[in-house]
């Protein structure tokens, strides 16, 4: 799901400067790319509770 940085900032009570907003947008794109990699993975094992 694409994150709207302005809406998310408002919901979280964060104030973004223009410089900060630009960097946050770049980081959100990086995270979206990472999330897509996880989405594409098809682990042989079923999703389960993590426990050592």
């Amino acid at each position: 799901m694409t994150v709207d940085p302005d809406r998310a900032a408002q919901q979280l009570g964060l104030i973004l400067s223009s410089e900060s907003r630009a960097e946050v947008v770049k980081n959100l794109a990086l995270l979206a790319g990472m999330a897509a990699v996880v989405e594409a993975a098809q682990p042989a094992a079923e999703p389960q509770e993590f426990s050592l």
Binding site: E19, L31, M34, V38, P43, A44, A45, E46, Q48, L52
Partner: protein, 468 residues
């Protein structure tokens, strides 16, 4: 006793009356005073307290009492560990306003009880969110092997202090590679034990579900001594294991012929630099490792760790992100903000994937005891240069130094980062990785490699100004 002597040799000399703990500590303090201006490993030196503690060790030796396995050994800790009466900075200026810690972290207490003497607190990336220790508030920690290069992070001060011979042992923390990356860059040993093996109480958190703590050292024996001293349950820390202590120091000489060893391929070699591949080759050859072992979905595990880190870290600091955004390093702040903005479904998917990935790794450990992978994709990069070449592309150092460590800590596996003697000027390490709770196999493999001359710590001779 040389500044680069092992902790075991220092303790033996103190207990044998050949040197006093006070003189060891005085020498260490003198070196730090003369040389740390160039390296910047320490953020606080506790000289008076260290000398008083060293005197107590000498008094014990004089009185014929057992001064402990680490008698008189100088050590230091990443500044996210609580030190009694010292403010825990966690690499930030926000925390500098907080009151001093009421007590030592339990791992410090345990090391002191074993006779080790605390010298002070060490530099790190802000809130442990980084791989270079280029801290905008406290300055970069420079690599003792090349002062123009980073020490790695986030436990950069911990690795650099050991490499420079300021302390024989240090403590660090590792969420995504923060022990293993600086160990590789600075050419020292680092242990990231199984998640939950060592108590994290009294350490400033970063990502609760991924945080580990562990030691750095100059020999495998020293790493084992520190690890054994630090083991043990902690009734006040619910995430610390109640499993019996499993000492490893006495097992280092055991043969390794029964160990099944494999070299991780795929994600762990596709983009690695020639230096990283050489390090893995040397370690694999010595351990007669099976080649081409695949840990499926490692890239996805790294990606999931990346996302979870941003979310949990951002959530932890949300209040300060709202009220004191200008007091963060902007690079830390904007990553934390993006992390906390991720939606709940995404985060839940990362957590579910974690269990599945662990199951896949456990299937691999039915056939293999120790896996080998690079600790870092490249050796230490230049301070102030955010980009480096990897796999023919320019990539961000900060986002990519942990390419090979993140999938492993994501599922809490124990790892020793061991410096491989490649003959190159810059150090680089390998990860020795085992199934959960099987630190023993790692220590035996690392000790074997050290005996064979494949891994080991070299003095930072390229910096003659450090060796007087």
């Amino acid at each position: 006793v040389s500044r680069f002597a092992s902790a075991a040799a220092m303790a033996a000399a103190v207990k044998g009356g050949r040197v006093t703990a006070v003189s060891l500590v005085e020498d260490a303090l003198d070196r730090i005073d003369r040389e740390d201006g160039r390296i910047n490993a320490f953020t606080q030196v506790l000289a008076g307290r260290a000398l008083a503690d060293a005197q107590k060790v000498d008094d014990a030796v004089k009185a014929g009492r057992d001064a402990g396995p680490l008698a008189g050994v100088p050590f230091a800790v990443k500044n996210l560990f609580d030190i009694h009466d010292v403010t825990t900075l966690a690499g930030s200026i926000i925390e500098a306003d907080k009151p001093p810690a009421a007590m030592d972290a339990p791992l410090i207490t345990r090391l002191k009880a074993a006779g080790a003497v605390l010298l002070g607190a060490l530099n790190m990336d802000e809130y442990a969110y980084g791989f270079t220790t280029e801290n905008s508030h406290y300055g970069p920690t420079r690599n003792p092997h090349d002062l123009t290069r980073v020490s790695g992070g986030s436990s950069g001060g911990s690795a650099a202090a050991v490499a420079a011979g300021f302390a024989a042992l240090t403590l660090g923390s590792d969420t995504n590679g923060s022990i293993r990356v600086p160990a590789s860059f600075c050419g020292v040993y680092g242990l990231k034990p199984t998640l939950g093996r060592l108590t994290r109480r009294g350490s400033y958190p970063f990502v609760h579900s991924l945080d580990h703590v562990g030691p750095f050292a100059r020999t495998v024996t020293d790493l084992a001594l520190a690890y054994d001293v630090c083991q043990g349950p902690d009734a006040l820390e619910p995430d610390c294991t109640t499993k019996p202590v499993q000492p490893v120091t006495g097992l280092l000489g055991k043969p390794v012929t029964d160990l099944r060893v494999g070299v991780l391929s795929g994600w762990f070699e596709d983009t690695a630099s020639p230096e990283a591949l050489l390090a893995v080759d040397l370690a694999g050859e010595a351990l007669k490792a099976k080649r081409g072992v695949i840990l499926k979905d490692a890239e996805a595990a790294r990606a999931a760790a990346f996302c979870l880190t941003g979310h949990e870290g951002g959530t932890l600091h949300l209040d300060d992100l709202r009220h004191r955004p200008g007091d963060f390093d902007p690079a830390t702040r904007d990553r934390l903000i993006a992390g906390v903005m991720q939606d709940a479904d995404t985060v839940a998917r990362m957590r579910r994937f974690r269990g599945a990935f662990l199951a896949q790794a456990m299937a691999l450990f039915e056939k293999i005891d120790v896996l080998i992978a690079p600790a870092t994709p490249f050796p230490a990069t230049r301070i102030g240069e955010p980009m480096t070449e990897l796999g023919g592309k320019q990539v961000l150092v900060r986002a990519n130094a942990g390419l090979y460590t993140q999938p492993i800590s994501f599922i809490g596996l124990p790892v020793i980062a061991a410096p491989v003697l490649t003959g190159a000027a810059l150090p680089i390490g390998v990860q020795l990785i085992a199934a959960p709770w099987n630190e023993e196999a790692l220590f035996r493999a690392a000790a074997f490699l050290e005996r064979e001359g494949v891994v080991g710590v070299t003095d930072p001779a390229v910096q003659p100004e450090l060796v007087h």
